[in-house]
Amino acid sequence: MAVRFDAVGDELNRTANISSNTAFTYMMWTVLDNDAGTSTYQPYLFGLSADLTQGYSCGLLSNVFRIEVYEGGVAVRSGVASGRPALGTPACIFLRCSGTGTNLLTGGYRTPSQTTFTTAAATLGTLSPVTQVFYAGLFGAFWQDARKWNIKVWDRALSDAELLVESYFERVMYPSSLNLYLPLTSANDTADRSGNGRNPTVVGTLATGDTIANLWRPSQKIFLPQAGVSHAATGALVGPGAVVAGSAARTRQHAATGALTGQGSAVSGSADRTRQHASSGDLVGPGAAVSGSADRTRQHGSSGDLVGPGAVIVGSADHITPGGTHDATGALVGPGSSVSGSAARSRAFTSSGALVGPGAVVTGSANRAVAPVSHDATGVLVGPGSVVSGVAQVGEDQTLVGGFLWMLRRRKAWEDALRNVPKPVAEVIKTEAPKVIEKPKAQARNELRKALELENLPYRAAYTQALERLVQQMRQEQEDDEEEESIAEALALLL
């Protein structure tokens, strides 16, 4: 943007802190909006002594750029350049003095298409001090009609190299001996930005105009971390109690000791570890809820559960490591957690953890499958007290883990305990039974009632009886397990 001086009464001048007659540089960008004709001198800027009879200027006359020196009220010396900025063409104008000798007053113009200034030179001579400089104003009977911006003034003569640089940059590049800096970005911005506080005097009504010439400014800095790199994270990807509406994915190689999703967090999208990683943390932390899938799909050495205790997975929870192996010591589905989809370890692995931990509920299938890969699992397929609504199987060519048959028997016993109970109610009872196994009957009944209310299910006395049968079955199973454990310990001592 620029300031428009529209020929009638618009003026911009300074009457204090004027540069000396022997050392100054004026520079401005300007574009002429109306041409007064070849016979009228149209100054871009001019400086005059107190009595208005001596001074200097640069401007247009006879269709060329020129500089003029005044004594006794008339132009006594001048220098003429080759050509001029055309009407409507922006140009950088300068007027410079480095003494009073021959050719020490120079001026010139550079349009955007030019790489150097076109110049004129003259002798300044010895003049009375200039006490008023007009960057726009009445010269004789002439008011210029032009837009002006980025006026810079120095109390020294800039070198040719400095002039060229300053003409490209919006900011002041060489502030040594800076006298004045007027950006003139709008009619409301005529203040001096040099730090010297030399605001010019404004006369008339200025307007804002376009600049149509771009001066160089510093660019916005962008810092771009490159994708595809690994990171070392010791913290959870999603912290405890956090809620992520989208997906929470560690998609790059990393060494993480924290859970992917922290305790109690909720992830509406998927929570994936899709790259090779060494992780000791759970994929889904205890109590977390993942609406999408929770997958470990890459080779990894993990000691944590895929789904931590008490977590809820609406989608699938899979170790599906295509083409890779993993050593997992943790359960696929931790104790007390709920997986609505499948919970599958479908690749070769060495695992000491249960596929489905104690008390977990898997609505879909819980499989160790995918022959012909083998696995050595010392953990049970389905842990004590857990419920698998779908198929729980070990795939082909596998050696059944000891206890698998009793697992099937136990499942049958549960089904018998819950005979004649509607399926939704049976699910509630299965969830409540482990919680009330040590509680008095009355308390167990009340808790069942509350659990049914939460699910908008009616309460019946028969449901309490079913709960009691299941609890009794579970207690028996616990006793059996403890007895077996005692026997095993005794045998170990003997052996």
């Binding site: 790489t115 070198s159 190299a161 060229l164 640089v165 771009n214 160089w216 510093p218 971390p225 690994s230």
Partner: protein
């Protein structure tokens, strides 16, 4: 591990009063092309300033994107130097701070078109003890030992380093 990139355009340059790389902006057929023109016979210089945010370790790469004003062959050699100051730690006077030893690299005009855009990278190994958060000055100048005639016009400089 990530790489931090800092693009520096001609408008970001600070230019010395003596022998500055000359600003140029040919209007072009469709758009103006800003650049810093480095002379073939006079060593010219430009400076850039940036904070060493997230600097981790390793060398600093200075990629120079350039084109020739008129030539279609020959080599260009540019040198990059760093001056690094750690605020609150270094007692060095910033106005008298010296650059570390310059590192150079040479590129060869790929031919075919005089003003085709080319790039090469200067690996700065003299790091002046750069650390994360440092105030850094980069000096870029053309080496007079190269063979390409005419100006080498730098259109962009990209500084990069590792954050680990």
């Amino acid at each position: 591990m990530a790489t931090v990139y800092i693009p520096l355009n001609p408008g970001d340059a600070a230019l010395p009063t003596t022998n500055p790389a000359a600003p140029v902006q040919p209007q072009g057929t469709n758009f103006p092309v800003p650049g810093l023109a480095y002379d073939a016979t006079t060593q010219e210089t430009a400076y850039f300033y940036f904070p060493a945010l997230s600097y981790g370790s390793g060398n600093v790469s200075v990629e120079v994107q350039w084109y020739a004003d008129t030539a279609t062959s020959g080599t260009v050699t540019f040198g990059a130097s760093l001056a690094c100051i750690t605020p609150n730690t270094d007692t060095q006077d910033i106005e008298t701070k010296a650059f570390a030893t310059e590192n150079t690299a040479t590129d060869t005009h790929l031919g075919t078109t005089a003003q085709r855009l080319m790039s090469f990278t200067i690996t700065v190994t003299n790091l002046d003890s750069i650390t994360a958060g440092d105030w850094v000055a980069l000096r870029l100048r053309r080496d007079m030992s190269d063979t390409m005639t005419g100006d080498a016009i730098v259109s962009r400089v990209i500084v990069s380093y590792s954050d680990t």
